[in-house]
Amino acid sequence: MNRKLLVGLSLILSIAFLALTPVSAKDIKVLSQFPMSGPVGALPEFGWGYIDGMNWVNGEGGGVNGKKITWFLEDFRYDPTVEVANFNKYCAELSRDEFILATGYITGGLKPLADKVNKEEKIPWLDGSYSTEIFGAEGGPSKYPYYYSLGATYGDQLKILMKWIKDNHKAKGKPKVGMVYSPTAWGKDGLPESLAYARKIGLEVVAQIEYPYSATDATNECMQLRKAKAQYVIYHGYSGASGCTAIFFKTAKKVIKNVQLMGTHYTTNRMSILVCQEAYDGYIGVATRPFLDAVPRAKTSMENPIVKLAHEFARKYRPEEYKRGVKDKDSIKDMFLYLEGLTYAFMIQKVLTDADNSGNLSREGVKKALDNLVWDYKGMFGGKKFSYKSHTIPMMQIFKADVKMVKMGETMVPTGAVNPITDWINSDEIKW
């Protein structure tokens, strides 16, 4: 009798175990790729922010309704080929049921992966690319249903700068704008539609100049702008950390003294203050994140909740890197980079939790969660919410640089910040 009872009990337990096993053993697997070495190897903060964010999500953050995320981080060395190869490898190795979300970082990887991601794998893909070609009118959800950008397109960024010029131009006559852009896909992205918009709103584009990364001198370019009598110059497709930016700004401040220098996302930040110094003073730029990281860091405004959170994270998880000076390559040189990595982690947790709450923790479930997302991104946009209907986070803010040189020891060092001069703007709400 006892033996029969024991066998029966074992059978029931086995059946119960087997019945429960597929659900509880199903992992949530996410692949992310960041440039931690290669051309932007000196800026590993993206990856650090992501690592700290994902560790927090799986720990204090509570995971996905208590379930942990198995996350993979690959250093793609800023090379699209590596990004594509990594994704293919994970697709081959992981089950579709478990591998339900991927993230990337550059436009160069999105193009070769378009069919693989959107037609074959049908896996939601969050990306750091702001490509107008992929996420603008010519691309977007109808063409690339599984691609989602984490910011506003460059086309929208350029247009919002032009709109700002139009709204704030005080001199007589049409505002005269000069465009300076890098001879790369990045530099040319968004140009055609922004130039059409400039014509539409009555701006006169008096010069379009390609200025290469390898430039050692910007006198020719600045003289062309001077001759064209440009009143505003939009500098697009460059990083604030690159030498050519410092060369251009330094020369522009002397050759075209009274011209308003403007720019897009990656030149509106702390690195530009540190590299361009007083030549950066007065610059007006658009950004898709709250670029509030002052020089010195202690003077940073902590009013924005996510900025405050990012600084708390960095102090807690990267105390040494947070404290180190900018000249140390293993330092957090610009908090925006760290914040960028962190926001990936928060977004991943949010959409996976939404999918889980809807009872469909699968690729399609995550896509639905993204498509239906209405979120304030932990207060990032001053309490404003955005939706992912355009597959971009359409929020932008315009900042102005306030830089002063102060004496420290025997040398002059820059101090200051980029401060917001507008509220957060939702490009989906603007009738361009």
Partner: protein, 318 residues
């Protein structure tokens, strides 16, 4: 009345023509001036390749990396240790010379007596090695590099020459003449020239060829550092700045691999070529053409004069 109108129309068109001519002349002067100033820095880079080539028949492909190394060494003395410019500059140049000497001792000296091609290939490897070391130490982001030199800008209406390129041109020219003086007015210079003519004969006359090579590499590194410091002062310094070294290749090939005067002429030609293309051709829609124009010019020159404009024509019998 119609005659008066015709006269005034004629006067207006003459005035317009004069203004257009004036504008054209100003643009040309601006382009030529800017080209010469940056060309002088290229000349200095070219000179450093030429003196190494004359002493060892090796082409130093690592010139860009030597330039960045020298600039960073100066950066440490001036910006990090905050020495005054007049102290930081000689210290930086001395450190650059020492670095050049060490590199020569470790990599070039063991190849003395072997084919110059081996030395040339070593310099290619050195370029990658030095760049990797610099990235490891300094990272690949840019460093702000603003020297507070006296403002000597020339601003005459439409004509503008900024202070930094003017300083770069002056310093490059000064360094060029110091090297010329060293080569043609000192015993060391005589020994270097003798070694460059015939290493074996020079050694037979008691000249220490190894020491000569060491001195040449050290002097060359210091001069490259001057060019690097002046170029960095246009805005920023980063390991990416080493790309400027590539400009030295058309300079020496156009001027002539073994000609010091050729390096000066070659640098100015390349600088002017870039500037003219940037002023007149790029605005027509040929964007980026400035980058390749010196190489097209190089092809033309080499097709006509294979040894460069001022290079020694060698008659080789086979």
């Amino acid at each position: 009345m119609p005659e008066v109108q015709a006269d005034s129309e004629g006067a207006v068109s003459t005035l317009n023509l004069k203004q257009s001519c004036g504008q054209l002349m100003t643009d040309l002067l601006q382009a030529l001036g800017s080209g010469i100033l940056v060309g002088l820095v290229y000349s200095l880079l070219g000179l450093c390749i030429v003196i190494v080539y004359k002493a060892s028949e090796a082409f130093n492909f690592a010139v860009g990396e030597f330039m960045v190394t020298g600039s960073f060494l100066f950066y440490i003395f001036f910006f990090d240790l905050q020495f005054p410019f007049l102290i930081a500059l000689p210290l930086g140049l001395a450190a650059a010379a020492a670095a050049g000497a060490v590199i020569e001792t470790l990599t070039i000296r063991p190849l003395i007596g072997r084919s110059p091609i081996a030395m040339t290939i070593i310099t290619l490897g050195l370029a990658f090695f030095i760049r990797a070391c610099l990235q490891l130490i300094f990272g690949s982001h840019s460093y702000s590099f603003f020297l507070e030199l006296p403002d000597i800008s020339i601003d005459a209406g439409e004509l503008l020459f900024l202070s930094d390129p003017l300083w770069a041109g002056i310093m490059a020219l000064l360094t060029f003449f110091i090297v010329m003086f060293f080569l043609f007015r000192t015993k060391w210079g005589l020994a270097i020239r003798a070694t460059s003519e015939n290493q074996a004969k020079a050694m037979a006359f008691g000249i220490n060829a190894k020491m000569i090579l060491l001195v040449v590499w050290a002097a060359s590194s210091a001069c490259i550092a001057v060019a690097g410091i002046m170029i960095s002062n246009f805005g920023a310094l980063s390991t990416m700045s080493s790309i400027v070294g590539l400009r030295a290749i058309p300079v020496v090939l156009i001027g002539g691999m073994d000609s010091i005067g050729g390096a000066l002429a070659g640098g100015i030609i390349v600088g002017i070529c870039e500037s003219l293309v940037g002023t007149y051709i790029e605005p027509l829609g040929f964007t980026g053409f400035k980058e390749v124009a010196p190489y097209i010019l190089l092809l033309i020159v080499v097709l006509i004069r294979p040894y460069g404009l001022f290079g020694t024509v060698r008659i080789e019998r086979v």
